[in-house]
Symmetry: C2
Subunit: 315 residues, 2 copies
């Protein structure tokens, strides 16, 4: 968000670039380049005060209480709400003295970028910090308690709400642990900017100092609290995502792709030539995700219920 | 926003505490404890995509371009949008090696708290950083270019949109300079969380790294862009605030208070016993601001157009 166009790191999204290259209007494009649930949590009614007032402490506490219940957070762990998991990721490297951090690759690239920007080396040995994306993006790999073994261990559960039984949040309270939760992906409201850090109370208190008061907007407080209290919606959503992921696999495999990983929010395929697949899909205004480190990985999010035909036609 | 109730620093807002002590419902309370314009900028229509999608680069660039035009930002200065000025304030101390910072008191207390949390000493001599709140909160004091004299100089213009001719933004591009702008106060949308850092491109680039991508929500991008392009609303608002501030002074002075400073978003009064005034107003569900460092300062924001009667009755 820097005026002098800052080169953004490779990410999903960026449909405006695709529009510029292949034409069409934004609305014509089916954006499957992210892992955001295309059926968003229905927005509760917002009040003028949600927009006008400084977020109230009571509203902040209600959100944190809902988060504790939804994720079954151990009592000894602290919970911090922030304007997106990425806002927390950017500040985690400041929590410990610069050193070497292990970030098993391939994975979500903001972690390495944030550590590097603050003078850390990314390495696999002699490390004082470790970041585990759980399940991993894009592979879907899951981690175990035995992997939580660095003095500072960050467990990024941005995509874990589709498989809550695998969450490692029960181990969040231990010294040096931080579990990240994203609101935008599973609830399909990435534009609202809401995420959580759960963990070692001393680390979370320091993150809170970096974050400042009133980090989360009034609307996000209300929406997040309602969504995290709505277990029925979460259950239905998990079931629908599972079905839709299977449907996507079936369509892709029928065209010669091999499903090699992912979660029910995004699927990872191995194809002969990922750039060629991306180009072919883009000609039908379907935007996919490929990776600088692989010539054969193609990642697709799920189409909205009324947009499967467009994908079918593009394939 | 920490689960383990973190003691918040002394601030305006916090009407829920007043409700707990003096009764009434939140809606019955007239909150004059902040400097937020009570006539908010009218919300433009938001789209489902504003909430659902990761904020688009084009939308981010449109907001920054609107900010450049509105504040007449020198071309050499960089502009960063963030979820509230307070999110930036919390990170500024990390921009320079720890040292001593001059923060002329009394003033907004988040600056000193942020520097102290990151190991700085607050002092008036031998400093490597200086924070000038311009106009100052609560006194209304304005600063001059001669005051911009520390290696790191932060000019907090959170309340400067009522007196744009006094802005120091023309000097923002120089090495070590950062000018802060708040969206919540003048546009009356503090819950939306939007603020800006304008200044030395190297410092702003480092702040952007701390902030992460997609710092600002989709709705805040749309609302902020519309508001910053609406010069007519800003002009009308300045005129109304000036009138209302004069009306408030008149009412307060008739009751024995002396107007000693402020801006047209909040007024500072000298009274015989500020705590007693606050208590008396609170009994009529009017919430005011007093300060730990003064027994006689009482600060009042402006009532909404339909709530002046309640203040009149309370006085």
């Amino acid at each position: 968000m820097l005026a002098t166009a800052k080169k953004q790191r490779d990410h999903g999204g960026g449909v405006d670039d695709a529009v510029a290259r292949w034409g069409g209007t934004r609305g014509q494009w089916l954006d499957l380049s992210t892992g955001i649930n295309p059926v968003a949590y229905p927005l509760p009614a917002l009040t003028p005060a949600d927009w006008a007032d400084l977020p109230d402490r009571a509203a902040q506490e209600a959100l944190v209480a809902a988060a504790r219940d939804f994720w079954d957070v151990p009592e000894e762990a602290a919970v911090l709400a922030a304007p997106g998991a990425s806002a927390i990721i950017a500040r985690i490297p400041a929590l410990a003295a610069k050193g070497a951090v292990d970030i098993p690759a391939p994975t979500y690239n903001e972690h390495a970028a944030a550590f590097a920007a603050q003078g850390w080396a990314v390495a696999s040995e002699g490390v004082t910090a470790r970041v585990l994306v759980h399940p991993n993006n894009p592979t879907g790999r899951l981690w175990d308690t035995a992997d939580l073994n660095a003095p500072l261990t960050v467990i990024d559960e941005s995509f874990c709400d589709v498989c809550p039984s695998r969450s490692l949040v029960a181990h969040a309270a231990q010294e040096g642990r931080i579990v990240l939760k994203s609101f935008g992906k599973f609830w399909g409201l990435a534009g609202a900017r809401l995420g959580f850090a759960i963990g070692d109370p001393q680390l979370i208190a320091r993150l809170a100092d970096f974050t400042g008061p009133w980090a989360v907007s009034g609307p996000a407080l209300r929406i997040g609290t309602a969504a995290l209290r709505d277990e029925a919606w979460a259950d239905e959503t998990r079931a629908r995502l599972t079905q839709d992921a299977a449907r996507l696999d079936q369509m892709m495999c029928a065209k010669g792709a091999e499903a090699v990983g992912g979660t029910s929010l995004f699927r990872l395929y191995d194809v002969d030539d990922a750039a060629q697949w991306q180009d072919r899909l883009a000609q039908s205004h379907v935007w996919s995700r490929i990776f600088p480190y692989s010539k054969t990985y193609l990642r697709l999010g799920l189409p909205a219920p009324d947009r499967w035909d467009q994908l079918e036609a593009a394939l």
